[in-house]
């Protein structure tokens, strides 16, 4: 690892001047507000020519908001943006692009049905006699491709190339305008190792040419392999700006993860004594070599009744992808699952539901809430789906179930006929929990059930999880907040870079710093 002998530099104040030139982008005191939320709070950020600058932070830290503030997508409430020493405020990505700031997004935003040359030159097409000069277009595109080290035919269709090549074409396109600043927002998330190396080669070349590169990635190894400097954001605020070589991975991870405000920090978990399973317990679910290409590398996992398995890892580490395989939300392309000792097929959510497995997605709005249906309909949706449409729930029984869960989980407002979209996030989450609890699952997979909800609802949900496990349910609990994971889990699975890297028993000596170290190093033993 590059950061083997780091120098501690705790003060953000004495940041070294590196490289010794003036920044091409200087953002000072940037504040961005959305209705009811401060997405960025007085954040400083600078970008020098000829550096790769990694922007790090967990979900909701404000990375994309900062990028969007720079490119003019988001309105800035306070603060200044200086580009090449002059104040700048762009009206949008196109405007920013004309001023030398190009953005390449995670999803390649190109037209796969056009040729490579057309994609590169789109918007800057050479013209002749009022029409397009196709010959010169291809010739110019070729120049940019060569600069990227791409030997592909400019006249070939973009869709015929791999994602990595498409990504590089997107970067070529970004360079057409002579970009001084290149923003790469998670360019590597769908690339394999060789392709990432190819991308890095191009990035190094651009860096040498004096281009400033803003790089966002969730892969720690990649950050350390390519970046010169790291800025860490958390909850919309600047944490620190550091040189990569002087920031050990462990410290980076703890900078990214919340600074543990409440008293549970370092505390041994509450359930470790009560939740430990009997010696001869049989696993409820056994995953053997289960994996999905591009999502999560093959892993083994055993889940026992009455046990809470916590999943720790950074955003994009493969936590969600693993959970989705267990539920059949995505199809595994290798490995097998045994349920109570017998091989089981879990290829669709419906099959998982039939095996009494339940899953709440981390994307509550997109994959959980059916907003225009009522609270009652949302609660019985899972039960009704299991029964099929021909056997409706008897009205009396349905309202009995609904009333019971509204009461048990304290759903507010306690009106079964309210449309779910009108409830608060925490109450929506409770309704989704009710939907699954009503199906009486043996295994409950909760992906970030506490995200974006208020502290009271958080505590209620965590207490509920404890209770359910005590009643014999197997629970998989995924959370970005390590204190929560530590507090609830009997065992903790650590994910990193789309692979399961460790599985530890939650003993009293396991605390947040220890967990951070495992996440950072990817190894169980020191």
């Amino acid at each position: 690892m590059i950061a083997s002998e780091p120098q501690q530099r705790p003060n953000a104040a004495d940041i070294p001047e590196y490289p010794p030139s003036s920044p091409v982008v200087q953002m000072t005191g940037i504040t961005v507000e959305f209705p009811g939320v401060k997405a960025l709070d007085s954040v400083d950020f600078r970008l020098f020519p000829g550096e790769v600058h990694a922007l790090m932070g967990e979900n909701g830290a404000g990375k994309s908001t900062l990028i969007k503030a720079l490119t003019g997508v988001n309105q800035i409430a306070a603060g200044t943006v200086m580009v090449s020493g002059a104040p700048a405020r762009f009206s949008g990505p196109a405007d920013a692009r004309e001023h030398g700031i190009s953005t390449v997004y995670q999803e390649v935003n190109l037209c796969t049905n056009l040729t490579v040359a057309e994609n590169i030159m789109l918007g800057s097409e050479p013209r002749r006699f009022g029409g397009l000069d196709w010959h010169s277009m291809r010739r110019q595109a070729k120049v940019f491709l060569t600069r990227m080290g791409l030997g592909i035919d400019p006249a070939s269709s973009l869709g015929s190339h791999s994602l990595a090549v498409q990504q590089l074409v997107a970067i070529s396109r970004a360079m057409v305008v002579n970009a001084k600043v290149l923003i790469l927002d998670e360019p590597t998330s769908s690339l394999d190792t060789d392709e990432v190396e190819q991308l890095f080669e191009v990035m190094r070349q651009l860096r040498q040419d004096g281009v400033a590169i803003l790089f966002v990635s969730h892969f720690l190894d990649q950050i350390y392999a390519i970046s010169d400097r790291i800025t860490v954001l958390r909850n919309g605020a600047l944490v620190q700006e550091r040189l990569t070589g002087e920031l050990p991975q462990r410290e980076l991870v703890s900078l990214m993860i919340a600074g543990t405000p409440d008293a549970q920090v370092g505390q041994a978990n509450e359930r470790s004594s009560s939740g430990s399973r009997a010696e001869n317990a049989k696993p409820l679910l056994q995953a053997v070599g289960l994996g999905r290409k591009g999502a999560v590398q093959p892993f083994d996992l055993e889940l026992y009744p009455g046990e809470v398995i916590g999943m720790a890892g950074l955003l994009g580490s493969g936590r969600t992808e693993l959970a989705r395989l267990l539920y059949g939300a995505d199809k595994a392309d290798e490995g097998s699952i045994n349920l109570q000792g017998a091989p089981a097929k879990l290829r669709t959510p419906r099959q998982a539901l039939g095996h009494k497995i339940a899953y709440t997605s981390e994307d509550r709005k997109g994959e959980g809430v059916v907003g225009d249906l009522t609270v009652a309909e949302n609660i019985i949706l899972g039960l009704q789906a299991a029964r099929g449409w021909t056997r409706p729930m008897p009205a009396a029984k349905a309202s009995q179930v609904v009333e019971a869960y509204i009461k048990a989980l304290g759903i507010r407002p306690a009106n079964p006929q309210a449309l779910l979209k009108n409830l608060s996030g925490g109450n929506q989450q409770k309704v989704l929990l009710a939907r699954w609890l009503a199906t009486a699952p043996k295994l409950l997979i909760l992906d970030e059930p506490t995200r974006g909800i208020d502290i009271g609802a958080k505590t209620e949900i965590m207490n509920l999880v404890s209770e359910l496990a005590e009643q014999g349910m197997a629970v998989v609990f995924i959370s970005a907040e390590l204190e929560e994971v530590l507090r609830l889990s009997d065992r903790i699975v650590v994910m990193r870079d789309h692979a399961k890297v460790a599985e530890i028993h939650s003993t009293p000596d396991v605390d947040v710093p220890r967990l951070i170290e495992i996440i950072a190093s990817g190894e169980e033993d020191k």
């Binding site: 539901l353 249906l373 899972g382 449409w389 409706p392």
Partner: protein, 340 residues
């Protein structure tokens, strides 16, 4: 009083009432019903009978639209059903027998089932956008009907089959009894089983529904099959009305009328919540429009313009944004009056 205005069916009902009122002012007594030979006659009965095919098609269309889909092929399906039934009757040995008529109905509906499966497969299994998937059958369907009729307008005489359109039962037109009977059955099926809720769930949030274990593919598939079968039934009534299989003109543009009826009835084209009673009123408005046009003596040249104006008026009055704007205007005026 205010609450009546806010009811989502207020404006469609008001439009329907206005159309009927216009008719009876122009020709007093037109809305009366007379009894002749034990059958009911009169403009209202005509409206019921004439609305039968559109009601059937719009019923299927409502369910398809609820799943975020659309079915453009209903008009072609109407033509195919009629062509199959009449060709079957024409080529049989006893065109006039009841058995032949029943056979024609079964064969036609059977083919519509297959057509529905084709649409459903394209949309649900292959994930083709509904508008594209059903466009295929919309354009190809009339060609299929042509093939069946050999490009001729086949005319047949079959009293039992003709009864579908011109017959009376218990004093009411058979066509109306079939259409409104099917409407009630489907409405009960949708609202008494969980079908309606699950369809809405799929239409509102397909991914959340899939993760909740809803068999969304099967549901979507079923809805397209149902829509094709209902269109087939409409096609049979159409064919029985003229007793001529016109592959080019049967059910022409009925898909547009059906979509209009659904939208007038308050179901959003974005899918999700649907409203069958709204669709019924939409169908009645569109059917009554034809009567109003005749009664008011609107020149046939501008008939479609007249229809368009009525439809625009209804949809505008139902638009929440326009209502909000009007409410804002009223507020401001009240504010000015208070301050004057």
């Amino acid at each position: 009083m205010i609450r009546i205005f806010k009811h989502r069916l207020f404006w469609p009902l008001a439009a329907l009432a206005a159309l009927l009122l216009a008719c009876s002012i122009r020709r007093p007594g037109i809305l009366g019903i007379t009894v002749l030979d034990g059958h009911l006659f009169g403009a209202p009965i005509d409206i019921l009978r004439n609305s039968a095919p559109l009601l059937l098609v719009a019923l299927g269309m409502t369910l398809v639209i609820a799943t975020r889909g659309i079915d453009l092929s209903v008009g072609a399906t109407v033509a195919i059903a009629g062509a199959v039934a009449l060709t079957f009757i024409a080529s049989s040995e006893h065109p006039g027998s009841l058995g032949t008529a029943l056979g024609a109905i079964v064969v036609a509906l059977g083919l519509c089932f297959v057509l529905g499966c084709f649409n459903g497969m394209l949309v649900a299994n292959f994930g083709i956008q509904p508008i594209i998937a059903t466009l295929i059958l919309m354009t190809a369907g009339r060609g299929i009907a042509m093939l069946i009729t050999n490009g001729q307008i086949t005319t047949v005489a079959s009293a039992p089959f003709g009864a579908l359109a011109s017959g009376f039962l218990l004093g009411l037109p058979v066509a109306a009894i079939i259409a409104y009977g099917v409407y009630i059955v489907v409405a009960l099926l949708v609202r008494r089983t969980a079908l309606g809720m699950l369809l809405e769930s799929v239409g509102i949030n397909p991914e959340a529904s899939r993760l909740a274990g809803v068999k969304s593919k099967t549901l979507v598939f079923t809805v397209y099959v149902l829509c094709a079968m209902l269109s087939g039934l409409a096609g049979l009534i159409f064919a029985a009305n003229t007793m001529a299989a016109d592959a080019n003109n049967a059910g022409l543009f009925i898909e547009l009328d059906a979509i209009l009826a659904v939208v007038i009835g308050g179901t959003s084209l974005a899918g999700g919540k649907f409203n069958l009673s709204g669709t019924l009123i939409g169908v009645l408005i569109i059917t009554t429009l034809s009567l109003t046009v005749t009664v008011l003596g609107v020149s046939p040249l501008v008939t479609s313009l007249f229809k368009a104006i009525v439809v625009i008026a209804v949809t505008l009055m139902m638009s929440t944004r326009l209502r909000a704007m009007l409410a804002g205007l009223r507020e401001r005026r009240r504010f000015q009056e208070v301050n004057a």
